[in-house]
Amino acid sequence: MKKPLDCPELNADTWNSGDSLHIVNISRRTFLKDLALTGFVLAAGFPALIRADETAMPSEKEKYGADAMPHGWVDNPLVFVAIAGDGTVTIICHRSEMGQGIRTSLPMVVADELEANWLHVRVEQAPGDERRYGNQDTDGSRSMRHFFMPMRRVGAAARTMLESAAAAQWQVPIEEVHAEQHQILHPATGRTLGYGELAEAAAKLPVPARESLRLKNPADFRYIGKGSLRIYDGQDIVTGLAQYGIDTRLEDMLYAVVARPPVFGGKVLSYDARDALKVPGVVKVIELPSSPPPADFNPLGGIAVIARNTWAAIQGRKALKIEWDKGPHGNYDSVAYKAELEAAARKPGKVVRNDGDIDAALQGAVKRVAAEYYAPHLAQAPMEPPAATARIVNGVCEIWTCTQAPQVSRERVAKWLKLPEDKVTVHVTLLGGGFGRKSKPDYVIEAALLSQAMNGRPVKLTWTREDDLHHSYFHTVSVERLEAGLDTQGKPVAWLHRTVAPTISSTFAPDSKHQMPTELGMGVINVPFAIANLRIENPEAEAHTRIGWFRSVSNIPHAFAIQSFVAELAAASGRDPKDFLLDLIGSPRHIDPRTLGDTWNQGESPEIYPVDTGRLRRVIEAVSREANWGRVLPNGRGLGLAAHYSFVTYVAVVVEVTVDEHGKLSIPRIDIAVDCGPQVNPERIRSQLEGACIMGVSLATLGEISFKEGAVIQDNFHTYQLTRMDDAPREIRIHLLSTTEFDIPLGGVGEPGLPPIAPALCNAIFAATGQRIRQLPIRDQLRKD
């Protein structure tokens, strides 16, 4: 192990151990603060909080799931529930809402176990404080997977306290009473007490032991599994009242935009602010220092313009004259880089999995097939660009922002402002989309620094769309080279996959040139095919920009390449792609991911979450049936299939396309079958999958960020195009594999729908036209004029 990087203050310490990067949480001890719930009866008087990391987390054995996340989980009802005298139940949501519906779905779980009537529930958003709430990093399709059970226990514990209070008041055994829709009933005497009436007495009772809790029988769920509730924030959204990060308004607030170095690693050489200061409304121009590597979540530096409104700040920025030093990445060029990746993919690289004897098997094969696939950088481009507002009063910094990482934001701001962490509060607003961009709080730190520079005056920092596209933490760019050997029956006997892509770890340790276990574990190393001779290699790739998480991350290029290649092999052996894929997956079986070389397994226990090829087969069979796979279509129309396992969820997709005589592509229909285990809020699961289908079409047909002379070429939505309604799939049919069980492990939902869309689409194009797409985006590759 090499020495830790120089970031001892940070929560997630990062270091290089051999070739793979590990991010390990080191939690620090600070005093708990009672926040947010003053005035509510149930929360009063119980400062002794149960903390997962002290009472429940296994300390000796390997940690998985929520246990392995920074600050784990908390299931104390006093942290998450407050009941007022009028019966209003307030439930805290500690995960960020970015469109996945978590402010509806998680509080709904609490409300169900609590037997609260949803009409009397209000949801309050937790500020960043993981010691109090447990992990808040809203990413990795984890919120429901990790907090379904803790939130059930929160609700059940609060319900038990109300039942105990009622039983005590009536002087009857607790077994004789039960909760039903905001009341405790005593059926023997017909007496009832409302939650509001019981709140004060209940608050004086001890929190029941976790082991003693009686969770509901799933048959008795009112909300869980039903999908019947409206979106909690829906009314505010349709009336324009919903508050996103960009909407914050404070008294005496100023508005800022920043001109950042166009090239990553660059800095300001000199600047002239005279014209900018002449723009009406401009108040001040401030230089922000650039940060040395690693990129981490540090601001990029540059010149900030502070003004009386956003428009004046933007105009002021246009009037700045800045000379930039491009730094070491001034030659980054996407065309040249693609050639570099291809060259690397054509030579042997670091072996990350090696089964059987690939060389002999390739030698002995009757037929060899090889193909290379390219997938470019992408920007998350949430509709709400990054934005944050900060103010500092008497050494206390308050931030309002759209962040997927409230605790990390808080820690980083504290470090940059040299304040103790308990002097920094991060209020989490709604997020106008996140997709991984808002997991990186560089913009939050910028806002804090600007407020500091203005003596603590409130400053709202807005990123324009140009800023967002130029300075994202970009999805990686990759070349995937696959080669297979087929036997006389056309059955693959050898599989060689070289995956080359700059790694996210380079953002934290710039010298990293190999994909991390978390990236390889996204469908490439853990490919569940029954092939005896299989080798996965990962040649080096150097990063020249900030690489970061994008919804479903490395699953995008991996699934694109693998599922396209499988269809190419099927064609080469003259077989139906679906039958061929099922044969490749082989019999239904549970595979220990460690036997595939996957030490990560999405952070989940290999025992609880093995790779289940039976489930993968089932989604393929379900989607084929629903999409009527095999139906005969006229020329220019075709069906394409792809399946992918990610975020411990199994997904298969059939895309139907039409390609007209000019090469114009349209998508009349997508069928998507999903096995994500228990479906807590099927309605929001469906909406996530609909969104994944459209984002998948968007990135496959149009999505590309490219660099020239170190800088991003794309400026705004004319050059970084996103799918619009006229080109979107006309119909999306979601097929959730039914389950009524709730004690089997949950899978992720937000991300796993995305990876199989691009390959299914390209396979459909092949079926329709015979043309094979190996480079994303498709853009005008089909055009015939």
Partner: protein, 155 residues
């Protein structure tokens, strides 16, 4: 000083007249329901009605809005069609993150007021200026059809 008629009320604005309406609404009047998405008329997040016409506030200098009736998302419920659009949006649970939905609702309301029974092509034409990164297009189409009293036809 100029006067703008916003949501039925006169508002005095003391800013240079080339300031886009978007920033006047958001920064000066606190009407933050109208969103910023691109700033150059590419995404529709900032759509408002000017005399009933769907208009991109980000590229509309306030000088050109003088004397016109400006309606924003905050007041669209005062219009019967607008209210039905909002109700359909809630019933079909159209929003995901919701950020684009102010603009979508303004565009859909304008469409339905001018064309109460739009075809799919009409819907495409009216709505394709509004980007939704979350991908709610199928539900937007379904909600427009619900307001129009048309049922979705499945092939």
């Amino acid at each position: 000083m100029i006067t703008l008629n916003i949501n039925g009320k006169p508002r005095q604005i003391d800013l240079s007249t080339d300031t886009p309406l978007l920033w006047v609404l958001r920064d000066h009047l606190g009407l933050t329901g109208t969103k910023f998405g691109c700033g150059i008329s590419l995404c529709g997040a900032c759509t408002v009605h000017l005399d009933g016409e769907p208009t991109r506030a980000c590229v509309t200098p306030i000088s050109t809005a003088v004397g016109k009736k400006i309606v924003t998302i905050e007041a669209i419920n005062q219009d019967a069609t607008g209210q039905r659009v909002q109700e359909a949006w809630l019933a079909l649970r159209v929003p995901q993150c919701g950020y684009c939905q102010s603009g979508q609702i303004m565009a859909a309301t304008a469409l339905l007021k001018q064309n109460p029974k739009p075809t799919d092509t009409d819907i495409d034409t009216a709505m394709s200026g509004n980007i939704c990164r979350c991908g709610t297009y199928c539900r937007i189409r379904a909600a427009i059809k619900q307001v129009a009293g048309l049922t979705e036809v499945r092939p």
